[in-house]
Amino acid sequence: MNRAARRWRLVAPAAALACWAAPPSAHAAKDAAPPAARVEPDVSRLPAPGTYKLPRLFAAPDGEVLRPDGRRLRLAQVLAGRLSVVSFIYTYCRDPEGCPLAWRALDAVHAALLADPALARQAQLVSISFDPSHDTPEQMRLFGGARIADPRVRWWFLTTASVPRLLPLLEGFGQDVSVELDARGRPTRTLNHLLKVFVVDGRRGVREVYGVPTLAPQAILNDLRTLALEAAVP
């Protein structure tokens, strides 16, 4: 680890040990009610899978990531050959008005894949931490819980060794994040970012990006099925 990377890791807080370690499902269950102001997308107005094309928006970035067991691998290895639903998270994200929106969608996609083994064999979920100083591999292991080992649906819970390792991934996906400063100009714990969920094809092409207004499990599943049909064409 280079010096810069080490410095990032050094700011890992003692408080990390007290972070939320419940699995996503528990979190989703706790915050089952959707945010009052969000208008759910009317999925009945979406086109049927296979009747539309998803443009190849950009190539997913590559970079070193860490598995929950601490082993290093390339993100390209994770994404190659699978349809992936990629998102950036942090494990201490608990506010009922925030991350649960994404977790509900990802949990619903996970449940749908459990019910569709054929699609599950082609697809996977990939969650990457925004905050390597807090979300160590062990933290991600606790966070992912039983999902990590579930062979029916592959769900990666990844982190990076340092912020310098993370930055190229954020940049490559076009995922913004900023750190709020306090009155004296010092960084706070507050991270601001635009919620994004990426649908990536087996050639590592980003084919769709979801934001708050459009995030719906059915829409993501439609995309996965559309890309599966596309991949089946010789």
């Binding site: 102001a37 969000r38 208008v39 539309y52 807090h134 912020v163 940049e171 750190v179 706070t188 207004p213």
Partner: protein, 440 residues
């Protein structure tokens, strides 16, 4: 942490009912970082004028915070090479970058607003026409991870038949979509384009129609005397399945329907537009069968005098609509409480010629600019070039400041976007020496 989620909640709240929202109410519903309070800066995309200053198009930044010592003053100007009919701008989904287009030479300039007080030019896109055959990048509409651009014309005949172009946020063209022609859903598409407005919850996009390069680059006095040229304006809107990017229906809306604004009020699913040549407000909403329909619901001024409504701005609660009419220099307010029957309740002459109008999210401040197109602006003393800021108390527009672009040798003031000083720093900025999260 709480503040982070207050922001997120604010985003979600502001996004209803279309999950839509922005600082000024016209921006893409997919955009982040709402400015619901006081804007710090107004960025003005400005057409260069030969012999005036450096003569180049430029992005002019005005300090708009009343408590600033520079309130109402130009604090930055960034020239780009040449003059190419600077026109409209749009932020990327993360509000970090501002895309600004030119209708004549088709160049698109991308400015980084990480420090909004001093925008930086980071990219120039110059392959729109060669890659797509479309001309005149007009509307820049942020979508997640990408930018949808509405062109106005084409390379073959410089007429009004055109299309949409999809860029990724790095500026690479990833797809294009021609505007509908022929019968689509019962009405004939003319292939013209102008504005884009998306209702994400309904997976519905509306587009409108203006005219091609031959007309928008022609002197206005000459144009209005050319009967054949005057026939070549758009008379349609199109309803699209935005996921599939397929036009589903064409709506007959005669007289060049320009800006489109969805109501942002929770539960509403309607939009309005104004037609430039026929001076009407049109309402687009679903009928009892769920089919999108357009109908003429109000008249703007005296259509016989061709006041030329050129821009509209809807209030965040969907109950009011500002309308600028270019020829008479008038800013009008319509009560939209009943969108089926908008009523004009206020009017004030805000200039000798007025074009764009932008309001703050809270509706308390209204900004106007003066330039429509270089060859359509008035001549002589009537060709004033200004940005005027007003305070709106619900009864009257009171001038807060004015920036005279002629006097300052800046050029023609056209499109405006707001920004605020960032509350934080990006991870990249902090990487140099400051620790990331003060988690210690």
């Amino acid at each position: 942490m709480t503040r982070r989620w207050i922001r997120t909640a604010a985003l979600v709240a502001a996004l209803s009912p279309l999950a839509a929202g922005a600082d000024e109410t016209c921006n893409s519903p997919y955009m982040a970082n709402l400015v619901k309070g006081q804007e710090d800066f107004v960025h003005v995309w400005t057409l260069g004028v030969k012999g005036m200053g450096d003569g180049n198009d430029k992005l002019v930044t005005i300090d708009a915070h009343p408590k600033s010592k520079n309130f109402g003053k130009v604090v930055h100007k960034l020239s780009v090479p040449g003059r190419g009919e600077a026109h409209h701008m749009g932020f990327t989904d993360d509000r970090r970058y501002l895309w600004a287009g030119r209708l004549d030479d088709n160049k698109i300039f991308v400015f980084d607003l990480v420090n909004p007080e001093k925008p930086k030019l980071v990219r120039t896109i110059d392959n729109l026409a060669s890659k797509t055959g479309f001309v005149g990048p007009h509307t820049f509409y942020a979508m997640p991870g990408r930018m949808l651009v509405q062109a106005l014309s084409n390379t073959k005949d410089h007429g009004g038949v055109t299309g949409l172009v999809l860029f990724n946020n790095k500026g690479k063209i990833v797809d294009k979509y021609p505007m509908p022609v022929g019968d689509v859903g019962g009405a004939a598409g003319d292939g013209y384009g102008y504005d884009i407005a998306i209702n994400p919850a309904k997976n519905t996009m509306l587009t409108s129609s203006f005219t091609g390069w031959n007309n928008y680059m022609m002197d206005l006095g000459k144009l209005v005397k050319d009967a054949e040229a005057m026939k070549r304006f758009g008379n349609t809107m199109a309803v699209w399945d935005v996921k599939a990017m397929k036009a589903q229906k064409v709506l007959a809306v005669p007289g060049a329907p320009l800006e489109i604004r969805w109501s942002l009020k929770e539960g509403d699913n309607w939009a309005v537009t104004a037609t430039a040549l026929t001076s009407k407000i049109w309402l687009v909403k679903q009928d009892a069968q769920g089919q999108w329909q357009a109908k003429d619901v109000a008249t703007i001024g005296d259509p016989a005098k061709i006041p030329l409504p050129v821009d509209i701005s809807i209030t965040a609660d969907g109950k009011g609509l500002w309308v600028n009419t270019f020829m008479d220099g008038t800013t009008r307010y319509f009560d939209l409480s009943n969108p089926e029957a908008p009523k004009q309740t206020y009017a004030k002459q805000t200039g000798r010629q007025v074009n764009m109008i932008s309001q703050s999210w809270d509706g308390k401040r209204v900004y106007i600019t003066s330039s429509l197109l270089a060859n359509w602006d008035k001549k002589g003393e009537d060709n004033e070039q200004v940005v005027r800021a007003y305070d709106w108390d619900g009864k009257d527009l009171k001038l807060a400041f004015e920036v005279d672009f002629n006097q300052l040798q800046l050029g023609r003031a056209h499109h405006m976007k707001f920004s605020v000083r960032p509350a934080g720093k990006t991870l990249g900025q902090l990487q140099g020496g400051t620790r990331v999260a003060a988690l210690q």
